[in-house]
Symmetry: C2
C-alpha cells in the first residue's frame, strides 16, 4: 500500500481554562479574526495560511485527547512567528504585552545568530517571535532555509 | 500607534526528549521533509503552507521559553489535520500507528457531527485527524467555515 502524503497541520488546539479570556486576548488584544462565531466552549481563529488556532475548554479535552492538563510547568511547546528582521521581533513582543501577555524573555540576541523574544498567553502557552537569519520568509509566507 | 498585523504561526516548537527518535518518527514514519539538515539538538520539518514543526531538545528550551517541561499529564495542546471526509481520518490514523504513534482515540463519530481520531507522538504530543463538516478545506489548503 502506498503511503499517504504526510498530514499538514491545519489546526492547533490549546486547552484553555477560560475560553472567554483567551478569545479576548487573541482577538481584541492580538488582532486575530474568528473563523466562525465563537461557541462558549470552543473558538477558532485564523493563525496563518490554512491554519487555525482553536481555543478549547481544557476540561473537555480529555474526552478526545486523553489525560491532558496544566501542571506546574508550562507545556514544552511554543507557537512561533518568524520575522524578517530584529525590529519586527520588538514590535510583536510589545503588542503581546499590551494585549496582556506575560514576558518570558525580552528581545535578546541569541548565540545561534538571530534575535528572539518569548511571551506567555493567559494560560502560559508560549509564543516566540524570531528573526533567524538562516531562514528566509518568502513573499507568500513560506519559510525556506538559506 | 497603529497596531501591527497579528503574528501568523510559522513554526511550532515541540520540546522532545530525544531529537533523533522524534526526527525518525516525523520523517521516516510520517513522511515529513526536513527544511535544513538536522542539528543534533534541533530539527525543522515542513508541516504546512509556511509552517514548520521544530523538534528541540526539551532540556534546552527553558533558556528561551522559561520553565517548561513534561509532567504526568500530556500538554493540553493538539496538532490538528483537517480532512475532507471520514475515510481520510482512518488513513492518517493508521499511518501514524504504523509510524509508532500510540492510539489515544480511534476514529470515532463525534456528537458535534464529524469524525475524529487522536494519537500521541513519541513524547506524548497529541495529533488529531478530523473531519468536521462545518469546515471546508479549499483547494489551496485554507480552512473556511460553512
Amino acid at each position: 500500500m502506498s503511503k499517504p502524503a504526510p498530514p499538514t497541520i491545519s489546526a492547533i488546539t490549546l486547552g484553555v481554562r477560560d475560553v472567554g479570556v483567551s478569545l479576548k486576548f487573541y482577538t481584541e488584544g492580538m488582532g486575530f479574526e474568528l473563523v466562525q462565531p465563537a461557541h462558549p466552549q470552543i473558538a477558532f481563529v485564523r493563525a496563518g495560511h490554512g491554519l487555525m488556532l482553536a481555543l478549547w475548554n481544557v476540561e473537555q479535552m480529555p474526552q478526545e485527547y486523553g489525560e491532558v492538563g496544566h501542571s506546574h510547568l508550562a507545556p514544552p511547546i511554543s507557537l512561533g512567528h518568524n520575522v524578517r528582521d530584529d525590529s519586527e521581533v520588538e514590535v510583536h513582543y510589545r503588542r503581546a504585552l499590551e494585549a496582556g501577555a506575560v514576558s518570558v524573555t525580552p528581545p535578546t540576541k541569541q548565540p545561534w545568530g538571530g534575535m528572539s523574544a518569548c511571551v506567555a498567553d493567559p494560560d502560559g502557552f508560549r509564543w516566540d517571535f524570531v528573526h533567524n537569519p538562516t531562514f528566509v520568509i518568502e513573499a507568500d509566507g513560506r519559510v525556506s532555509s538559506v
